[in-house]
């Protein structure tokens, strides 16, 4: 896919994805929707890391049966791998905390579990 892609369309898509998830996290009251917004923001950041290291006409940076000479950058892909694993770990911990909050207060509304009770 050679040729000039005008106006950096992938970077604008990443900016739109992060702003939608920020809007969800700030305005919603249901705790599960806030966690969904955080997961969308993690996907947006991973997409940004991969599109930083793209070279036009490049192939995957693996030498086993490599089809071409020009390769994309390998370091952003390694950082994305770490970021995906960290997103899975924090998502598991957040969902476990939501289950405990539901068992002790009876609802997943964030306005009903504000005050620290004895």
């Amino acid at each position: 896919m050679t040729g000039n892609i005008p106006f950096n369309i992938p970077f604008v898509a990443v900016a739109i994805l992060i702003s939608i998830s920020l809007f969800i996290m700030v305005t919603q009251r249901n705790l599960i929707k806030v966690v969904m917004g955080l997961s969308i923001m993690a996907s947006g950041v991973n997409l940004f890391l991969i599109t930083l290291g793209y070279r036009e006409g490049g192939v995957a940076p693996i030498y086993t049966h490599a089809p071409g000479q020009l390769m994309v950058l390998p370091v952003p892909q390694a950082l994305t791998l770490t970021s995906i694993v960290i997103a899975v770990a924090t998502l598991a911990l957040m969902l476990s905390m939501i289950v405990r909050i539901y068992r002790s207060t009876g609802s997943v509304d964030s306005e009903k579990s504000r005050m620290l009770k004895g």
């Binding site: 030498y63 086993t64 049966h65 899975v88 598991a92 969902l95 289950v99």
Partner: protein, 153 residues
């Protein structure tokens, strides 16, 4: 526990998923993959097993202390290989050029040789064991917590 058709098909498909996950872990230095990706594939096979057979049936055979032993041994393999090349620097690749896993591939495109890579395939096995045990422990504990409804502490 789901119906007999679901249990039979899950029992047929799950060994293939396990073999595929182990293949992705062991060939991490030749094809796309490695420890984290192969561990995720293996854990999805465990998830299919838990959904088809029910969490109480799986919990009779697979306790938490088995998974804890597997995860700790994976981390110890990883850190022990990091300390192996401590004469130069922490995490030095001390097996390149020596006897075990020490071949050097020819530059450019080539069909891969599995005995290359230095210390990287052994680190893949360590991280793969850790991710398998960690994700299976998360799945098993969360599936158990939603079935038993006794009030605790």
């Amino acid at each position: 526990m789901m119906s007999k058709i679901v249990r039979t098909m899950a029992g047929i498909i799950v060994p293939f998923v396990f073999v595929y996950g182990l293949y992705v872990i062991l060939h991490g230095h030749l094809t796309p993959g490695g420890g984290f990706q192969g561990g995720g594939v293996f854990a999805s096979g465990v998830a299919l097993f838990i959904v088809a057979f029910g969490s109480a049936y799986v919990h009779q055979r697979l306790k938490e202390h088995h998974l804890s032993l597997l995860e700790s041994s994976g981390v110890l393999i990883f850190i022990g290989l990091g300390f192996g090349g401590i004469a130069t620097v922490f995490f030095y690749n001390f097996l390149v050029g020596s006897s075990v896993f020490g071949n050097i591939p020819p530059t450019g495109a080539n069909p891969g040789d599995i005995w290359t890579g230095g210390v990287i395939p052994l680190m893949n096995v360590g991280v793969g064991l850790k991710v398998i045990a960690g994700l299976s422990a998360i799945l098993l504990v969360m599936a158990l917590a939603t079935t038993l409804t006794e009030v605790e502490e």
